[in-house]
Amino acid sequence: MAKRLPKKDVVIIGLGWTGSIMANELTDEGLEVMAIERGPWRDSPTDFSPTYMQDELRYRIRHELFARPEQMTFTFRNKMDQTALPIRSWGAFMPPNGVGGGGVHWNGEMWRFLPSDFVLKTHLTQRYGTSFLPEDMTIQDWGITYDELEPFYDRFEYTCGTSGTAGNLRGQIMEGGNPFEGPRSRPYPTPAQPQPFSHTLFAKAARELGYKPFPQPSGNLSTAYTNPLGMKMGPCTYCGFCEWFGCANYSKASPQTTILPHLIRKDNFSARANSEVLRIEVDKTGKRATGVVFVDASGEEWEQPADLVILSAFSIFNVQLLLHSKIGKPYDPVANVGTVGRNYSHQTVSSVNGFFDPKKYNFNPFIGSGSIGMCVDEFNGDNFDHGPHGFVGGGYIGQVQTGARPIESTLVPPGTPSWGAEWKQTVKHYYLSTVKPGTGVHGGFYSYRDIYLDLDPTYKDRFGRSLMRITMDLKPNEIKQNKFLTDKFAEIIKTMGAEKIAPAYRTAPYDITTYQTTHINGGAVMGTDPNTSVVNRYLQSWDVSNLFVLGASAFPQNPGYNPTLTVGALAYWAADAIRTKYLQSPGRLVDG
């Protein structure tokens, strides 16, 4: 029997980006807020040390900062008639754990989605007709527009100190930025980061081919910056240990560097680390959450009652907790009813490595930041006419090499033996002259009727709860998209002057063992219709009106960009709705 703790106004499940944003906004409103975090408290001075953070084996290969599969994992299969097996060791994505969440060890890419991404279904059917879309594709509009979200994009960019070059300032296209982006109300808070050699070479080649390259917007800062909360950040030092690692320089935007030191000093905020929420409790009507039950580090169960519950764990964990809490109707792909678990998506990522003549090119590839890079956006979203190509969607492509950590960056051209004397000589020959873009082709992943999440019938977690089951495969639309983008990308790498190139297309079946990105989205999507969405346009649960579900679980499908800026902007948007609408009149903010 769980011991009951004193009631709070708000309980927050998960203290990553969205939990920190929401906690800060609601404590500003004077509410008593308690955050419950499954993993440990981590901080720059103690956990991200400049004397030992540069450890590729410990942090990248052995995944030290991430969730452990023994704590929580998922089962996986490609198709509904297969048996799903547990993901025993992480591969295709890397779920976070602990205070700061993925904000600790992300790369810091700060992309806005395109205006057309938010009204995708309407936009595509108007331009190409309904029959152009694959029959089993279940894309939909978000229920929010770019213009509505713009102030909150701006807010999160200024929280993080984002370094970049504006491409569209209040409707005016700006030289050197991304000409395809939606209009922004202000320039970036800090100028774009300087670029290493191979990145500038990529931009030159892209311009020669007629594209408009621009620096990737970055949460690794080009200069010192003080954010609106008074948090001070330092310039990035291009150490090359960003993604998978914590930043020891206060240069990478994270909850630790931008929000938490401010938040923790407030009297009306408290947090519990190493405490895992088992379920959200609802009253007898099933329409009102009463709080959460969590288990602490000793295994003891506690009940934390609250008037308002914010579910702000990592995307896929949100969906799992909804299913374990029996909130909302689980999605059934056969009957095509229910919503929880529907429209799960990932990214369609591939790359092209380039091998250059070492006598002419020394890239010093170990110099990099997590979101350094020169990109082109001509082939993202609906920035180009898809009519002749027979697919929808796209992605940005770019030289976004974030460092050349030697275990993963000692490459050899195709045809070279993988071991022995020739392998060794070839590694030595090419290391300083290899272009290895991390996610060179960063394609979107649209949603489908038979790609979804539900509870596994066989495998259990350490508390005896069912693991969540991922049914996921690559569809012809995404495979065509990837072939098209990868070929365009290879052309630029070749134009740079590579003597050998190694394209690696993304093909079916979807593989759970090789890393793509940790952008696993959807499953608790936002929308205008309770029959096809879990939350309304303010991220409020249709079923339980005092529950808000934040994060990328709300994406109805995945555009061709990194999700974090939109995740943060949506958290500010939801917080604004709670502050200006919900608190005045608690209840459903939208009739459904």
């Binding site: 450890d55 060791s89 291009y238 190493n274």
Partner: protein
């Protein structure tokens, strides 16, 4: 110990009775000075996991996968076998932190490794089957006693599935050994391989530095500084030769 266990995600098992409450964090960031968690460098000495013959086999494999050349030592002298021995004796060998609940079913390759056995046990079984196959083919000789050309050919045959191993997928496991040896070669020297940063010197990686601010805009120029490891450089840690 305490802190390490927290990081390993096993905190709920080992917190002492006095901490068996839902500890609340408020007013200040919950960190204390000098509470970092630096890595433990391996110590040289006898094998921790391997038997003596297993160790000799792995050293021979290390030199086949990463052969010595006039400029750079091979896998054996770079310490790759020591690296693997210490890894198998540690959390990696026991697949600590991974999901190891039953049932274990054979799946498709893209569903990932499904085995109750950790890498330590799998290496032991591979090495036994490998030794048996070598002795069968070479008149009772273990792999580490073969001529280097014979060793090379034998590995090629395993890779090409011309030689089958008893109860073990030789081709797949050899690919794993290649990966592990190369990982040890390029990891920080504190893990036992990449001794004296030979691998980093070979490729021109400057190691565990943290600041290239002055260098990000210097294009196509060779970075001049030698590598440094997490524990510094050998010459910082040993007495100057007299």
């Amino acid at each position: 110990m305490h802190r390490r266990a927290v990081l390993a995600g096993a905190a709920y098992l080992i917190f002492r009775g006095s901490r068996a409450h839902a500890t609340t964090i408020l007013d200040h960031l919950p960190w204390t000075p000098n509470a970092g968690n630096p890595p433990d460098p391996v110590t040289l000495g006898p094998w921790v996991y391997f038997t003596s013959d297993e160790g000799r086999t792995i050293e021979a494999l290390a030199d086949q996968i990463i052969p010595p050349d006039p400029e750079t030592p091979g896998g054996k002298d770079a310490g790759c076998a020591v690296y693997l021995d210490r890894q198998l004796a540690g959390p990696y060998g026991r697949q600590e932190g991974l999901y190891v609940r039953p049932p274990f079913m054979k799946g498709m390759k893209n569903q990932g490794h499904q085995s109750e056995k950790g890498p330590a046990q799998e290496y032991r079984e591979f090495l036994a089957a490998f030794d048996k196959a070598s002795k069968l083919q070479f008149g009772g000789k273990p792999f580490f006693e073969l001529q280097t050309e014979d060793q090379h050919r034998f590995l090629k045959d395993i890779e090409g599935e011309k030689v089958k191993l008893d109860g073990v997928d030789g081709k797949a496991f050899f690919a794993q050994i290649v990966k592990d040896m190369q990982m040890g070669f390029f990891a920080d020297p504190l893990y036992g391989g990449n001794r004296d940063m030979v691998a980093w010197k070979m490729i021109g990686f400057p190691g565990a530095r943290y600041n290239y601010l002055d260098w990000v805009g210097r294009h196509n120029e060779k970075f001049p500084l030698p590598p440094v490891g997490l524990t510094g450089r050998a010459e910082w840690n040993t007495r100057a030769q007299r």
